[in-house]
């Protein structure tokens, strides 16, 4: 008689609900329309978010700690689900126009989210890797699903570079295992402080390889080259998903590994600060030269990676809180901006920045919403982007990286210029015929945009409604689990 293994399923609940959505999309796709599936997935996402609430403060774990539903995981999962919700709302309107309206699209999307959640819940490097691969493989497919040359090219590029990144990452995991003899975050963190000199070298090597692998996934310069092509070439709703949910998940992984497991390990801090500096400079300056709005947002996503990664240089307490706050704000504002692009673009290439002239007089609500998103992305108060930026500056500054804070401040000037140009153009009077898709303004997309805009405004005026949850330092000292 086969004995089923003893597994506590409670901590798995949010992941399982999302997985159920993915499976139902796979199976039911033969009988019901894609829109129905999207509604099912929306329900699954909401249920999963609710299940996060039931796990709050319970600190449960499964598989002997390999999978842990601690508060850090729940907060990051909440951000992931918020991004998913917005993506699903946008695909309701635009998937048909982007020619990706088939059940497989929804299935892949939900599998990717499952992977993302696994990363946030991971308690050891293997679960992390499994999550990362589920997420990445689904994303490769998502980027390619649209039958166009541009999508195929971007998907292939994404796949090849992503696979190389994964390979480096796995190699790094092997090194870390070699140095510490364990894959569990808690054990690695314990061993990292009491290593023999020979092992330290291996650990440093492993940490750096992991850093490279993650740098591919989150698009830190110089490993960012694929981002503009993939974000620009994929259907806009997919770009939205890739630049928010997938990035949040990759950062959740980095937080677990670097602020958690390898926090005491030497070496990676100094390399990371160089990567961040390069990202800030390259991302911001390259975005300055983009004439296509969607591509510009892709580079801006690269630039934001630099800001987000600054949080990893802070202490886990300050950095974790800053990262969790910034990730939610980043998701809200980027998703809302891309949702507007998805609604108004004539083709999947997005639209040119000059096409935005006079948008305010044609689509006043979308124009104002986009202006709010851009102001928030640029870090202008009273929108939440400002507090996000402030928190990461503070985290880095407090931990002795003053020069990086100053550099980040200086490169933000370039950021303001490229966010400002489209924002100002929108309000300039214009008599030429409209160049955007006139019928794109639909209820679900508007809902997603409203969610983003209300979110960044509310979080900007009263940051405490989200920061109050993430500010507790105790959450972030337990990143490695018990």
């Amino acid at each position: 008689m086969l004995q089923p293994p003893e597994v506590t399923l409670t901590p798995l609940l949010p992941v399982l609900i999302v997985l159920a959505g993915a499976l139902s999309s796979t199976l039911l796709g033969f009988w019901v329309s894609r829109r129905t599936l999207t509604f099912i997935n929306l329900a699954a996402t909401l249920l999963s978010a609710i299940s996060l609430g039931t796990l709050w403060n319970r600190g449960v774990s499964s598989f002997g700690g390999s999978l842990q539903a601690d508060n850090a995981a729940l907060l990051l999962a909440f951000v992931i689900l918020t991004g998913t919700l917005m993506t699903l709302l946008v695909t309701l309107d635009t998937a048909w126009r982007a020619r990706v309206s088939f059940p497989e699209f929804d299935a892949m999307l939900m599998y990717a989210v499952t992977g993302c959640l696994l990363i946030a819940f991971s308690g050891d490097l293997i679960v992390l890797l499994i999550g990362l691969e589920i997420m990445s493989l689904s994303s490769y497919v998502l980027a390619t699903l649209q039958g166009s040359r541009r999508a195929e090219e971007s998907g292939l590029k994404y796949f090849l570079l992503g696979a190389a990144g994964s390979a480096v990452l796995i190699y790094g995991i092997a090194f870390v295992y070699g140095a510490t003899g364990s894959l569990k975050y808690a054990a690695i963190s314990e061993k990292a402080s009491v290593l023999t000199p020979e092992n330290t070298g291996i650990l440093v090597g492993g940490a750096l390889l992991l850093l490279c692998g993650f740098a591919f996934k989150v698009a830190l310069a110089p490993f960012h080259q694929w981002t503009p092509d993939v974000y620009g070439g994929a259907p806009t709703s997919v770009s939205l998903f890739l630049s928010t949910v997938v990035k949040v998940a990759a950062f959740a992984g980095m937080l677990r590994v670097f602020s958690g497991a390898l926090n005491g390990a030497p070496g990676w801090h100094s390399v990371l600060q160089v990567l961040i500096a390069a990202t800030l400079i390259v991302g911001n300056l390259a975005a300055l030269r983009q004439m296509n709005f969607k591509r510009m947002l892709a580079y801006s996503a690269v630039a934001h990676t630099g800001f987000l990664a600054m949080a990893l240089l802070g202490t886990p307490q300050a950095g974790g809180a800053a990262l969790a706050y910034y990730l939610l704000v980043y998701t809200l504002m980027t998703a809302a901006a891309l949702a507007i692009v998805a609604a108004l673009q004539r083709s999947e290439e997005g639209f040119s920045i000059t096409d935005m002239r006079g948008l305010y007089y044609r689509h006043p609500a979308y124009a104002v919403a986009l202006a709010v998103c851009l102001a928030s992305l640029a870090g202008l108060p009273p929108f939440a982007g400002f507090f996000g930026k402030y928190l990461v500056f503070q985290a880095a500054f407090q931990n002795g990286y003053e020069w990086l804070s100053v550099l980040a401040a200086l490169t933000s000037v370039a950021a303001l210029v490229y966010y400002l140009r489209p924002a100002a153009l929108m309000f300039m009077p214009d008599r030429t015929p409209a160049r955007e898709y006139g019928l794109g303004q639909r209820a679900p997309t508007t809902l997603a945009v409203a969610l983003g805009v209300v979110g960044v405004t509310a979080l900007g005026l009263l940051p405490n409604i989200w920061y109050g949850w993430v500010a507790n330092p105790a959450i972030w000292t337990l990143l490695v689990g018990r």
Partner: protein, 480 residues
């Protein structure tokens, strides 16, 4: 919690409320609603003045980050807030008549008023930063919606300069709190946990970067002429732009108390820079052929004076600087509006039109009177400010006071030359007939002038308001 505690908050947010209200107001009542809200804001300010300034009101805004909502309107900040409210009212009065379909403009004026009064009221560094940036957004929108063909470049330049400074200031703000070890960003806490040593100088430089751009101080001034030139002809955005010169105030309220040693250490360099800015701007103004650019450089020259006064850390000079800062808004703002009226009549901003005086005597006369205020003719508010600054600066560095003093002669030269070539000389043959002032235009030019004359002749109320505040700030220097 009494009503007087709420007055500053009311004064700050009333215009913003009005700005949002305008979005849902029917077109026919928009002017009246905007004017009423602006008048109400002045009323709130006067009520605070009657009560002798407000107490510090503090509420923990974001407790885990140590950011408080601390506001106080008293002394210098009250004077500046009142002038801001007054000039916003004047701007609304003019915008309602001059601009066709003025809805967005009225909204933006009110939104900006909130930002500006907030800047003056903030007693918490982060709150100050938030208002500092907030005032930027309506200014940018005014330029984007109502600007001229070259506005994109002007807008980018303006924003880039401003953000360059303010982001460095943000890093400094973070540094001031963490290196000093203060529990919050509120000024009361920060003053008790001052940063010591060389870190103070570095942080001061970061702070200075933002203020020098806003002031503006040479060589950070390049955005200013373009900003004014590309804005709407009416001069309304420029009025708000001149109110935007919060740099002098920021240096006075935050930089001196937080970086006393650094202020003393850098005093010679900064005073030199300020004196140079004043003279250099006056010199450039002399060569301008566009009224807006001329006024922009004249404003820059005045701000050089203000900076000289603040940097000198001398009581007389600082009071003079604050006096000039407050009342310069009146006459420079009114001059921008007068230029707008001139443009409306002759269709150009050129300073060499000729003969306007013969047909539009009232416009010419009032413009001249405002120019007298601007070049500090005794009996006008500007004189008291500039004279006190020179008197105080002389006690610190006589030579720099002398260089700055030369500016007053240069000012007379550029002002009178431009005035002469526009309003006197012969009217070119075949030129359009210039109508004189009508309706509210009279009010728009005479009200600011009247206030400038009133406080030029009877300065005691304003001085009494400012003096204790200046003494309190300078006491941080340890009886220097």
């Amino acid at each position: 919690m009494t009503f007087t505690d709420w007055l500053p908050t009311l004064m700050i947010f009333l215009p913003l409320l009005g700005s949002l209200l305008l979005l849902v107001t029917p077109k026919t009542f928009r002017d009246e609603v905007a004017g009423f809200i602006a008048a109400l804001t002045i009323g709130a300010g006067l009520a605070i003045w009657r009560g002798g300034g407000s107490e510090l009101f503090r509420w923990d805004w974001i407790p885990p980050l140590g950011i408080t909502y601390s506001v106080q309107l008293g002394g210098v900040s009250l004077a500046l807030a009142l002038v801001t409210a007054f000039m916003s009212f004047i701007a609304i009065l003019y915008a309602a008549r001059r601009i066709p379909n003025p809805g967005p403009m009225l909204s933006l004026i009110l939104a900006m008023e909130t930002g500006l009064i907030g800047i003056f009221a903030a007693q918490d560094l982060m709150l100050f930063y938030v208002f500092f940036e907030d005032a930027l957004i309506p200014a940018l929108l005014m330029l984007a919606i109502y600007g001229k063909s070259g506005r994109m470049a002007a807008l980018t330049k303006f924003a880039a300069y401003t953000l360059f400074g303010s982001l460095l200031m943000l890093v400094s703000i973070i540094g001031v709190r963490y290196i000093g070890g203060s529990p919050t960003f509120a000024m009361t806490d920060l003053k008790q946990n001052l940063v010591q040593g060389s870190a103070q100088t570095w942080l001061y430089l970061g702070f200075l970067a933002a203020m020098a751009v806003k002031l503006p101080l040479w060589p950070m001034h390049a955005w200013l002429p373009d900003f004014h030139e590309q804005n709407h002809d009416s001069g309304i955005p420029d009025v708000m732009g001149t109110l935007y010169k919060v740099g002098g105030y920021g240096l006075f309220t935050f930089a001196i108390p937080l970086f006393p040693d650094a202020s003393l250490e850098l005093r010679p360099i900064l005073m030199g820079l300020a004196a140079f800015t004043a003279l250099y701007a006056a010199w450039i103004a002399f060569g301008q052929k566009d009224w807006k650019r001329l006024l922009a450089y004249a404003g820059l020259s005045h701000m050089g004076f203000v900076a000289l006064g603040v940097f000198s850390l001398n009581e007389t000079a600082v009071i003079g600087a604050m006096y000039l800062l407050a009342f310069q808004n009146l006459y420079t703002g009114a001059l921008f509006l007068a230029v707008g009226m001139l443009q409306e009549r002759i269709g150009s901003l050129d300073t060499r039109v000729g003969g306007v005086m013969t047909q539009a005597g009232a416009l010419g006369g009032l413009t001249m009177a405002l120019w007298f205020a601007s070049i500090a003719v005794p009996g006008m508010a500007g004189f008291i400010g500039e004279f006190s600054i020179l008197l105080g600066a002389y006690q610190v560095f006589p030579w720099l006071a002398f260089i700055a003093g030369v500016t007053t002669i240069a000012a007379a030269a550029y002002a009178l030359t431009a005035f002469q070539t526009t309003f006197w000389q012969a009217r070119p043959a075949g030129a359009v007939r210039v109508p004189d002032l009508v309706h509210t235009e009279w009010l728009i030019l005479t009200l600011p002038l009247a206030v400038a004359v009133l406080f030029g002749v009877y300065s005691a109320p304003a001085l009494n308001l400012m003096q204790p505040a200046v003494r309190a700030v300078l006491s941080a220097l340890g009886g220097n």
